[in-house]
Each structure stands twice: as C-alpha cells, then as structure tokens.
C-alpha cells in the first residue's frame, strides 16, 4: 500500500532525528535532503536550525541543565519525610490492605453470591405456608383477614 502524506512526513521526521544523531552516511544524508526538500522544504530548514542550535546555540544549553543537581541534602530530607510518613508502617498497611483486597473481598463476594443463590432456592415455598405463618403472627383466623389475603396473594 502506498504511504500517505502523513506517513511519509513521519518517516522523514524519524530520519531527520537519525541525521541529527549523526547516524546516517553522507550518501544517506544527501538522499534524505532531496526527499525532504521534495516533500516539505520547511522540514529541512527546521532540521538545519536544530543542528546549529544544538551545537552553538540555545539548544546547547541542555547540557548545562543536565548538570543541574537537586538542593543540598535533598536525599536526606526525603528519608526524613519517609520516616515521618510512616516508612515501614505505611508499607505494612499497604500490604495488609492489598492482602485484604485480594483475598477477603474476593471470598466475601463469592460467599454473598452463594448465600443469595441458596436463599433464593430455599425460599421457594408454597403460598399456603406464608399464609399460615402470617395468620399465626397476626393471631387471626383465615376468614377474619380477607384484606391480608388480598395484598398477600395478589401478585402470586
């Protein structure tokens, strides 16, 4: 399949980065220059700017930034903070929590599912049993509570 313009542009950008890293031979570089200029001359100008600035211009200041060090005693302050925030105690809490999450919650969920399933099958009683129970609880005879029959069985 023929690459589209964006794919060509991305491939040229990749190669320009290789060129800046001096990974191309002279022939490859010449070919790349031709290809880039044919596709988008601005890319080549940008490349030349980047190369120049990396050698003698503002982009060469990255090497200064690379030398930068954290403030004196930073690692000591980090260890102090770590101690202050619990250190090994916090680690232990984290481990206990992850253990709890992994095992206790999983087992709990399985139990809930099993119990719910068991309860659903075991409560499948005939409607008459419920009626007897309600009668016993309310202390009345069946014929004395027709309204109970009404709301108790209307959906059954």
């Amino acid at each position: 399949m023929k690459p589209n313009s964006k794919q060509i542009s991305n491939r040229l950008r990749e190669q320009l980065v290789d060129a800046r890293d001096s990974l191309l031979t002279d022939d490859e570089l010449e070919q790349l220059e031709r290809d880039v200029k044919a596709h988008d001359p601005q890319l080549w100008k940008d490349h030349l700017w980047m190369v120049e600035q990396a050698q003698i211009g503002v982009l060469s200041r990255f090497s200064d930034l690379r030398e930068e060090q954290p403030a004196k005693g930073a690692i000591g302050r980090f260890h102090s903070r770590r101690q202050a925030e619990g250190g090994t105690q916090a680690d232990l809490e984290f481990l206990v929590w992850s253990w709890f999450r992994r095992y206790v919650l999983t087992v709990g969920l399985v139990l809930i599912v099993l119990l719910t399933g068991w309860q659903m099958t075991s409560t499948d009683e005939p409607a008459g049993d419920i009626r007897d129970q309600m009668t016993r609880i309310l202390g009345g005879e069946q014929e004395q509570i027709p309204e109970l029959d009404h709301w108790l069985y209307e959906d059954l």
């Binding site: 980065v17 503002v58 690379r66 690692i75 980090f78 770590r82 984290f94």
Partner: protein, 182 residues
C-alpha cells in the same frame, strides 16, 4: 521476571543515582507552574518505595521509577491546572531566577539567560512535547527507553521528538530568539 521482590535496601542503594535525574525531569516539567520540584520528586520516590513489591523486573529499575515519576508529575500538573481554572488563579508564581526574554531585546544572551529562555520555552509546550524533549535532550535517554516509558514504537518516538523540537523552535523564536543567533 524477578525471582524475589525488590527490597528497600536495593532502592536505598540506587537512590543517589536516580534522585538527581528524576529531579531534573520534574523541574523541567513543572517550571513556571508554581509546583515545587523537590516535593514532587519526593512524592514520586515515596510511591516507588511503597509500590516496590509491584516491580517485576521486565523493565529496568530506572525506567520503572521514571514511569512512576512521570505519572506523578503529570497528575500534579493536571490538578494544578484544574485548581487554577476553578479558583481563577492568575499566573503561576515563577522561579526566583526566572528571566523575561523581552527584557533583553536584541542583546546577546549570556549562558545563564539562554538556560532560562530555554526553560521558559519548554514550559510553554504541551506536557507531551515537554516530556519527550526532556527525556531525550535533557536526560539523554535512548529511544528504546522513551518508547518503553511512553508505550510507543521507537520510530514514533523519533517523529514526535522532531515535531516537539519544531514547536520548541517556534516558541524560542516567538520569545525573541533569532533562529540564526548564538
């Protein structure tokens, strides 16, 4: 895969080597945002110590640490941006040594001023562009390392890097840096 979990002792041993590198990345990322790079570096390492049992050795310890720091910084920047929007905070406090490129006009910029201009231009880029330039140009990480951290193909890293550098160029020029100037 690691046969044994990463110990605190191992991390203690690597800390002096990792800390300055992570700090530089954090500082470059939060420059001009008002966030404290030292606090954020510490936050990152606290997470590394806490989550060390999750390190499985499939990537280098430094890459793994860097990923945690990267995520910590990006989260902090997002929260910071959101807070600024919610509370209508104005411009972020700037670093005490921050320099305005406009003040110097066409005068030749000395080394220190150039560093500050570079930091300011980086701060104006999107987080994605800033991060990729920081990883490659500031930290000197390999394309494979960056690809692993960003979960991208190595070629994609290069094309994105080129695009990010183009945007950096535009920012530098808009700040008064003549493309041909030293």
């Amino acid at each position: 895969m690691r046969p044994t979990p990463l110990t605190e002792h191992e991390l203690d041993r690597q800390l002096p080597e990792f800390y300055p590198r992570i700090y530089r990345m954090v500082r470059a990322m939060v420059y001009g945002s008002g966030l404290d790079p030292e606090d954020l570096t510490q936050d990152s390492f606290l997470k590394v110590y806490k989550k060390r049992h999750l390190y499985n050795g499939t990537s280098s310890l430094y890459t793994w640490t860097y990923q945690i720091a990267r995520n910590t910084v990006l989260d902090a920047l997002r929260r910071n941006k959101l807070q600024r929007r919610i509370f209508f905070w104005s411009e972020a406090e700037t670093d005490p040594d921050e320099f305005s490129a406009n003040e110097s006009g066409d005068e030749a910029l000395d080394r220190r001023e150039q560093q500050q201009v570079l930091r300011q231009a980086l701060a104006k880029l999107s987080e994605k562009d800033r991060l990729i330039i920081t990883m490659r140009d500031l930290e000197g990480m390999s394309y494979d390392e960056i690809a692993e951290i960003e979960n991208l193909a190595s070629g994609t890293v290069k094309s994105r890097l080129f695009t990010a550098r183009q945007r950096l160029k535009e920012e530098l020029i808009s700040m008064g840096m003549d493309p041909g100037s030293d």
